[in-house]
């Protein structure tokens, strides 16, 4: 029996807008094993961040269940949820706007410790902060610095230290390296990987960068307009993509290798509006393989080969 830490069942998040119902997350289900990483990939507006935040109830889901260690956290009271959040943390994309500019590194990292009364003695807190700073590779002398004095990579390390302060079991990493230069990006990715091995962390890794997610994840789920269109172990997904959208997405990555000349699949048009969606395959308008039947009903995620799930009328 697999050791499941998180099970998401039929998660939905709709937003009411003036023009109608916006389907940000539309009926998503998946399970995640302890100590593993799930990559959530997709382009802007596909609902990957909303999914991450709904799982932590930072945004209240419209419907569905989120079972964390067996408890449905959607049913918890706000007090209970507060306690539960110690186990579930998030690292944000933008290390510039996610840190309070008026607080020092010390104050930022110690805030969750003080707030949750994990430690109360001043020197014990400071010791913990220094320990966390060492874990994430921040020099001790920076303890009284302000975020604006530090570069993007160091700021992201603060964000990671803050998330680790609660000794969480699950961390949602929402585009943690997108704002960083490649050489710094590699430093942060290595850090996250080392931390995972050392602390047995489970990650949901949200990104638009397929090469990063391939490097990092055990399983990858590809999202399009609020739905998972394909989910498979990373190697399998890259070797045998089935959904037309996944194929196009993979072929669109520019590869820094001259020996690799690939056939590019160009998609027509752009992502359609997620408001008042028709009862049809959401990718049909841009799909190069679209058939008449594709506009009748929404395709369900089906297991086509072991552990490889696809939502496409033409497969499975």
């Amino acid at each position: 029996m697999a050791d499941t830490i998180l099970e998401v069942r039929n998660l939905k998040k709709y937003f009411k807008t003036a023009r109608g119902m916006l389907h940000a997350v539309d009926d998503i289900s998946f399970t995640l094993e302890r100590g593993k990483t799930l990559g959530l990939v997709g382009e802007s507006g596909c609902g990957k961040s909303t999914t991450g935040r709904s799982i932590l109830r930072l945004i209240e889901p419209s419907a569905g269940e989120v079972l964390f260690d067996g408890t449905d956290i959607c049913k918890l009271s706000s007090g209970e949820m507060r306690k539960k959040r110690k186990d579930m943390q998030i690292i944000f994309q933008d290390p510039f706007s996610s840190l309070d500019p008026k607080k020092t590194v010390n104050q930022i990292i110690s805030e969750p410790i003080r707030e949750n009364r994990i430690l109360t003695k001043k020197h014990a807190i400071e010791e913990k902060v220094l320990e966390l700073m060492e874990t994430v590779g921040l020099a001790e002398r920076l303890i009284n610095s302000y975020p604006h004095e530090l570069d993007g990579g160091r700021r992201q390390r603060i964000g990671i230290a803050r998330a680790l302060a609660m000794q969480p079991k699950l961390i949602v990493c929402d585009e943690p390296v997108s704002a960083l230069d490649v050489s710094i990006q590699a430093q942060i990715l290595n850090l996250l990987k080392t931390l995972q091995e050392k602390m047995g962390l489970t990650y949901i890794f949200i990104t638009h960068d397929l090469s990063v997610v391939n490097h990092f994840s055990n399983d990858i789920a590809v999202m399009y307009l609020g739905q998972i269109v394909e989910k498979a172990p990373a190697e399998e997904l890259f070797a045998n993509p089935i959904h037309p959208y996944t194929k196009a997405l993979l072929s669109a990555i520019p590869v820094p290798d001259l020996s690799e000349k690939r056939q590019r699949i160009s998609l027509k048009g752009e992502i359609t509006s997620p408001i008042n969606l028709p009862d049809a395959c959401r990718f049909a308008n841009r799909c190069f393989d679209c058939q008449d039947g594709c506009r009748e009903g929404i395709p369900q995620l089906r297991e086509v080969t072991p552990n490889h799930f696809v939502a496409c009328f033409l497969h499975g």
């Binding site: 382009e43 490649v182 050489s183 590699a186 669109a252 520019p254 590869v255 160009s266």
Partner: protein, 335 residues
């Protein structure tokens, strides 16, 4: 035939510094660029390497003060840009050389229709009447894959990818000889990026445009460029044909950039990032600027900044380690 006429762009010993209250920011520290007709040069480097400043100084758009631009030679298509009076320079911009900026959201004017914005440069440079210019604008829109009927719409009615297409239409409206694209697809999603890059290379072929592609993405370079120049702390540290730089990498920094990229073929391998950070441009080290982060650095690297030296007709590198006979870098990526 003078030598400059063989190149659309010829830059010698460009130096740009910003004299600010906090000190002198040494953005560009002596670079040479030679670009042949119809060629595409990729200018690669991380934030703060000086890529954008290099592009701006070619167009004489570096704000002064605080910017100070010094240059031995700056020719575009044989024309001496440095000696041009300002009003002549305005004729060059948009007509001979166009620039595509990174963020299409902020480049377009929100209160004019996209048609009017494309027509503007046609009226100025080609002296078309407003009506004719608007008509040409519509055909430019068609060219970049937007229905001409949308010329009367405003930027906010377009998506990010469509806006970047509009920006490309503006840049190409007067068929410039040289196009400078500064991270043109960084703000776009990967499938849209693929569309825009494809469009750019089609149009480049159609109009025989030469191009400088500024990017931090080596994948994009591999796809669209003929030549590459890798920049670090305001200098070109390695340059050559695509094949030279990608398959016969010489500079330790270029090697570091490749090693930092997640490798699709070997996904479990740990990445090998470059340690440390880019030096502060107000306080550059006296020797090679990369030495503090370099695994191969020796005493010899701390004296003078190394000059670019040619290792073949097409490939050159600025690294003192190559003074030692037999020196080579590891570049474990393809192993």
């Amino acid at each position: 035939m003078s030598e400059t006429e063989k190149h659309i762009l010829d830059v010698k010993n460009l130096v740009v510094r910003y004299e600010t209250e906090d000190g002198i920011v040494r953005a560009i520290n002596g670079i040479d660029i030679q670009l042949g007709y119809k060629q595409t040069l990729g200018l690669v480097g991380e934030t703060g390497a000086g890529k954008t400043t290099a592009a701006l100084s070619i167009l004489r758009l570096v704000p002064s003060p605080p910017g100070v631009v010094e240059c031995d030679l700056l020719h575009i298509d044989g024309l001496d840009i440095l000696s041009l009076p300002d009003h002549k320079m305005e004729e060059v911009r948009g007509k001979e050389v166009s620039m595509i900026f990174q963020d299409p959201m902020t480049v377009l004017n929100p209160v004019f229709t996209v048609g009017e914005q494309i027509a503007e440069s046609l009226e100025i440079h080609e002296h078309l009447s407003h009506k004719d210019a608007l008509q040409r604008a519509e055909s430019m829109l068609e060219l970049v894959g937007i229905p001409g009927s949308r010329a009367n719409e405003y930027p906010h009615q377009f998506s990010g990818g469509m806006k970047q297409r509009v920006v490309i239409a503006i840049a190409l409206a007067c068929s410039p000889k040289l196009l400078i694209a500064d991270e043109p697809t960084t703000a776009l999603d990967v499938t849209i990026q693929a569309q825009v890059l494809e469009l750019m290379s089609q149009l480049k072929d159609k109009y025989d445009t030469s191009m400088i592609m500024i990017t931090h993405d080596l994948g994009i370079v591999a796809e669209v460029c003929d030549k590459v120049a890798v920049m670090y702390a305001g200098r070109i540290v390695e340059q050559g044909l695509l094949e030279d730089v990608f398959n016969h990498t010489l500079h330790p920094y270029t090697e570091g950039l490749f090693n930092s990229l997640p490798n699709v073929k070997n996904r479990t391998a740990m990445l090998k990032p470059i340690r440390g950070l880019m030096p502060d441009p107000t306080n550059l080290p006296s020797g090679c600027a990369f030495a503090p982060r370099c695994n191969y650095a020796t005493e010899a690297c701390l004296g003078e900044p190394p000059a670019l030296r040619a290792v073949s007709d097409t490939h050159s590198v600025a690294c003192a380690a190559y003074n030692t006979p037999g020196f080579h870098i590891e570049k474990g990526r393809d192993a």
